[in-house]
């Protein structure tokens, strides 16, 4: 109960903080328009050239799949890596470690709180813009989508936070975690279906997207396809498995990491 109240307070405070600083939402808006908009435009050109169906998938479905990837990215769960690495490098971690809160919970809440404001504003706006320009695919009105979309979205963010927190914790051992972060980030980007929608993946790559944690971090992109209804609960199971496995790993690694804390004094 206490943890929930604290989480609510941190998230609420950070949403207020974001409201005081509109620069972030402006930046997120332009990033969304630039990255997602350009991709949608490119795929539109490809569809105009190749026909209305590629690999049995319409442009409308592809566009929504890409859009869902970017809308989850607005929450910026990846930012937790840098936040933790900075806390470790600068020693600021000590400011949280002497408070009655678990450091990782605090970082989870702050990352969610920082991204939520942009998400609450841009997600409905983006949804509306997409619905008005492209319409809503029939797959998004099925029971399977309506029932599972929130669960999958929640697990995408939870798993991303956990995996990226784990990368951040590596800063206790590594001087520079950027190369590791970069590799993971690119795997998520490719296997998550951001630039190349999962519908176009060759079979091996598709299997990798399904079974690897990198793909599982972006299962939200699968929810708009026809095949989703049949696979939904299996994929949620895979997401749950990775979330629990990495969650446990994170706790163990963080426990070890705490013993390595060193601080600069005066």
């Amino acid at each position: 109960m206490r943890e929930l109240r604290l989480g609510r307070k941190i998230i609420g405070t950070l949403i207020k903080n974001s409201a005081y600083n509109p620069q972030r939402i402006i930046l997120d808006f332009f990033a969304l328009v630039a990255r997602c908009g350009i991709l949608l435009f490119l795929y539109k050109c490809v569809y105009n050239w190749k026909g209305s169906n590629i690999n049995n998938t319409s442009y409308q479905v592809i566009a929504w799949s890409i859009f869902l990837y970017f809308i989850v990215s607005i929450m910026r769960p990846r930012d937790i890596t840098d936040a933790i690495a900075q806390d470790v490098k600068t020693g600021s971690i000590e400011m949280i470690l002497n408070k009655p809160i678990h450091y990782l919970s605090y970082r989870f809440y702050t990352t969610i709180g920082t991204g939520l404001y942009s998400f609450f504003i841009l997600a409905p706006l983006g949804f509306l813009a997409m619905a008005l320009t492209l319409g809503i695919p029939s797959t998004m009105t099925t029971h399977a989508f309506v029932l599972t979309c929130t669960i999958v979205g929640f697990l995408c963010i939870a798993l991303s936070l956990i995996v990226h927190a784990l990368l951040g914790v590596l800063a206790f051992w590594m001087e520079d975690i950027t190369p590791v972060y970069w590799i993971v980030d690119k795997f998520v980007m490719v296997l998550g279906g951001s630039y190349l929608p999962v519908a176009f993946f060759p079979p091996v790559m598709y299997q990798m997207a399904i079974w690897s944690p990198f793909g599982a971090m972006q299962f939200i992109t699968h929810t708009v396809y026809d095949s989703w209804a049949a696979k939904a609960w299996n994929m949620i199971g895979i997401q749950l498995f990775w979330t629990l496995l990495f969650g446990l790993t994170l706790l163990i690694v963080f426990r070890k990491a705490k013993e390595r804390i060193s601080v600069n004094g005066g």
């Binding site: 000590e94 002497n98 009655p100 060193s262 004094g265 005066g266």
Partner: protein
């Protein structure tokens, strides 16, 4: 009087890898040479409830490491410690409810939001009810005179205002001990005095134990009744602050004010040396191991025509400098 802090044979060693330029990259990556630094070396001390203690020493002496072990941030390599009856390394969360921390070089406040938001935030973190949070904020605003800036974003506050805010935030949950690591760093004289007055006030009115590290002599002189001096991770001295001068420096200073002007500066007898030479004023240092004040005065009056004399002890700052320099050798 019961102890709020008890430390027995506390040691902290840091281990770090060192790149060996002669070894290959594989060895450096997987089996690097390890070096060890003993930051805190088998120290023992205790602090009574309500006491105001300065924990001082030169850079790298082990002050911050000790504070960070006492607050549960660092784990000791060996030894025992008890803070308010709890072991900081195993009861960190429980202990956090009972202690407050101010680290002068870091901020715990939310930079973009008004100070009230940070105070509310800490209230929730310390599990206080909404009514209690409101009441405590009003109390802290009154005590710390925060009214004029409590609604301003923290990033727009002056350093002095921010430090008052930091202290208020650390006292939100009425801690029994406050650990302060260089709390007045960067503050001007007015802000320093205000902060010290506030600390004295909470110590007097609420019996809060104060455990402070600082390089600022004023903090030690005005705030702390007891001083623990550390160097190379060991306690060199643990004594009442007002005895520091007597213990460490066997020197007194004599100011001589010229009747007209001092024209020549003759060689001084053994035990005396010029600390400052001016035409209107001379400052002479007296080595008390070689000469007492009376003999010194007698010899100086034979040498100089003076209108006024002032005899005084070494300033605490010089004492501390002396301790640090001696420790380096």
């Amino acid at each position: 009087m019961t102890n709020s802090i008890t430390v027995k044979n506390l040691t902290k060693r840091f281990e770090f890898s060192v790149k060996d330029p002669k070894a290959g990259w594989l060895k450096n990556l997987f089996a690097p040479t390890k070096n060890q630094v003993t930051a805190v070396d088998n120290i023992s001390f205790s602090v009574a409830c309500g006491e105001r203690v300065a924990f001082i020493g030169p850079n790298g002496a082990g002050k911050s490491t000790t504070i960070k072990m006492l607050t549960g941030i660092l784990f000791p390599t060996s030894g025992e410690m008890s803070v308010l009856g709890l072991d900081p390394s195993t009861d960190r969360k429980k202990l956090a409810y009972k202690i407050g921390t101010v680290f002068g070089q870091r901020s715990q406040l939310l930079p973009n939001l008004p100070l009230t938001d940070s105070l509310e935030f800490f209230g929730v973190m310390y599990d206080m009810s909404d009514a209690l949070i409101k009441e405590r904020i009003a109390e802290l605003v009154e005590i710390f005179d925060l009214k004029e800036f409590v609604n301003q974003p923290v990033r727009k506050l002056s350093l002095g205002q921010r430090m008052r805010g930091e202290l208020a935030a650390s006292l939100m949950h009425r801690p029994e001990i406050v650990f302060l690591d260089e709390p007045t760093i960067g503050l001007d004289v007015v802000a320093k005095k205000a902060l010290r007055d506030l600390l004295l006030r909470i110590n007097k009115t609420q019996g809060t134990t104060i455990f402070l590290t600082s390089h600022d002599v004023g903090d030690i002189e005005t705030l702390c009744e007891r001083t623990i001096v550390v160097n190379h991770g060991q306690i060199i001295k643990d004594l009442p602050t007002n005895e520091l001068t007597k213990t460490f420096v066997n020197e007194k200073y004599i100011d001589l004010m010229a009747k007209e002007t001092f024209e020549s500066f003759p060689n001084l007898p053994t035990g005396l040396r010029y600390a400052e030479q001016g035409k209107d004023k001379l400052t002479i240092a007296v080595d008390l191991k070689k000469l007492n004040v009376q003999a010194a005065l007698k010899q100086l009056l034979d040498l100089f025509e003076v209108e006024d004399i002032n005899v005084y002890n070494t300033e605490l700052e010089a004492v501390i400098r002396h301790i640090y320099e001696k420790a380096k050798i």
